[in-house]
Symmetry: C2
């Protein structure tokens, strides 16, 4: 059998989840809800846990189209008692609950710690005692690398976060690693980069620029681009990210490992903004301005990853071109923007 032949196909993966119990923390959020919809399609029994913290990404509208086919449990991952009950009997746990704003993590570092660090440990403790066989995939982030010393960044890039959020996410990932090493919990972490697509938070601009810029184009507002616009980033369409979660969960070879996601080529922020106008057909309306101090201090310049490890190990590669992903994104928000504003 060749190496390629041994890679899981999405067809096999579909069967992996049919009839299985799947828990998604942060399941009403951006990536969680897209994953949930896909898992419902694949025949899984999906349980979403989300706390619907007002400033976070959880949004009941995100799963409206499948509301009758899954279960929503409003709970906070900071509550260890609730979690101990909810992990019981699950075959898969997608661990996506998180505080994702770098800015907020500096203003309120304790909340970031509680959610991204303490709750992760709490969930792993619950699994260790209550459900040690559950397959866990954890949403980590390229933010743990901080300002890159080498590009593209592989998984061996030094862990050197530049904000409290990055530190706590690094801890969360390391706990997943240790619980595999020491207790054999079957954990995998995916280090996400800039994900965009339908169902992303758009209420404020503290959770990354992609969703915010898209909202501004849809609403005809001027985009302010910080720095010189030449900072390079790698963008993933959310469906490609969902596929990575499914592939990781379905493959025991991924246990005890962390994988970068990434794009086939990086894109400058200015080019990203230009593409927003090209794809949407709106008239360009943006301005390049100096960094506000608080953001400049935690800006990391260019960043893009080498994702060859997950490509070689799990056969994952992003398949949605940026123009195609943006086109689908605009179609979604043009129809639903009101559901993402308040």
């Amino acid at each position: 059998m060749s190496a390629e032949a041994s890679l899981p196909s999405m067809e096999t993966i579909g069967k992996t989840f049919a009839g299985k119990n799947v828990l998604i923390t942060g399941g009403l959020g951006f990536i969680g809800s897209n994953l949930a919809i896909r898992l419902v399609d694949l025949g899984a029994h999906v349980l979403l846990v989300d706390s619907l913290i007002p400033d976070y990404g959880g949004n009941l509208f995100n799963v409206e189209q499948v509301a009758s086919k899954l279960t929503v449990n409003i709970a906070d991952v900071r509550d260890p008692n609730g979690l101990r009950y909810l992990v019981k009997g699950q075959d898969f746990l997608f661990n996506l609950a998180g505080q994702v704003s770098h800015i907020d993590s500096m203003e309120d570092p304790m909340t970031d710690l509680e959610i991204n660090c303490r709750s992760q440990l709490s969930i792993l403790e619950a699994c260790r005692y209550i459900n040690p066989d559950v397959r866990i995939v954890n949403a980590s982030t390229r933010q743990i690398y901080g300002k890159p010393v080498e590009l593209p960044a592989t998984e061996e890039h030094p862990i050197h976060p530049t904000d409290v959020n990055g530190i706590n996410k690094a801890s969360g990932e390391m706990y997943h690693q240790i619980y595999y090493d020491v207790y054999g919990l079957r954990t995998t972490s995916l280090r996400l980069t800039n994900t965009y697509g339908p169902r992303q938070l758009m209420k404020h601009n503290r959770q990354g620029f992609a969703g915010w810029f898209i909202r501004q184009v849809v609403q005809g507002e001027e985009i302010l681009l910080f720095g010189d616009g030449e900072q390079k980033r790698d963008f993933n369409y959310v469906d490609d990210v969902v596929e990575a979660f499914l592939l990781a969960a379905a493959s025991d070879v991924a246990c005890g490992q962390a994988f970068n996601l990434g794009a086939k080529s990086p894109t400058s922020l200015k080019r990203f903004v230009e593409l927003l106008y090209e794809v949407s057909g709106e008239a360009p309306n943006y301005r390049i301005v100096a960094f506000p101090e608080a953001r400049r201090k935690i800006d990391i310049g260019d960043f893009y990853t080498d994702f060859s490890k997950i490509e070689a190990t799990l056969g994952w590669t992003p398949t949605t071109p940026l123009t195609e992903g943006l086109s689908r994104t605009f179609a979604f928000y043009r129809e639903n923007i009101e559901r993402y504003l308040s």
Copy 2:
């Protein structure tokens, strides 16, 4: 001025602390109390904060000889309100409070997180708002490197802890770094390796082997050496470690940096045990046995550091030969062992 001439001398350093307000968290513990005694000698106004948690290293006897010359405040670093008051008006903060047992961190990971991770963030928040000019030196640990991929380990060695304690200590150190980078708090971290000497915890064997073995020799008990005894480690006598804290605190060039401590040459555990008998004059009484499972899983094999960075930057080098340090250690415990048993 040559590079050497610009390095601080211990004479200059003595003057740095005279009349200054110094807070030591974990000040009744092993390194904290030795540091406190030295700072009292240097004329500092020393305030010790310690929670005297029964299984930890805090021991009022540790500072008995200087009890009238310093202030002891029993408080837990997990209490943010207390800390906000206590950091006020301090010129120096030596941040040594910690849960240091790797074993305990796996049994009770939440307590380890609260003390080594959450409390560090809480202390830094207190300093940021209440006393942003305080000079902070943080006790980090070589444990954050985990199982070494390269020896001797420099500060660039990957951060890859093998237990919960190592993860939380890594977070604690990274918070100190970020609070320098973003808020300009003048923080330095020292990554301690195996420290031994007077005033170390000896009540149980969950805080490292050095103190435990010394106790066993003093009490005529058989030493059980796990593995094959060939694992190499680097040992620092506590007075050398105290000197590193003083040098770091006195030198603004150390702000925003982390430094390894280390020994001039590594010593195998078997050789360390043999030295214990040679120096103490007791008859050898030890046995090499297989690792208990829980310890084997978090054992890291050989470990020793490259400490050339602190040598070049601060002029620190350990000056106490192992035989000399052990000799002083045995002299101390022969007289005081009863104060360390319960």
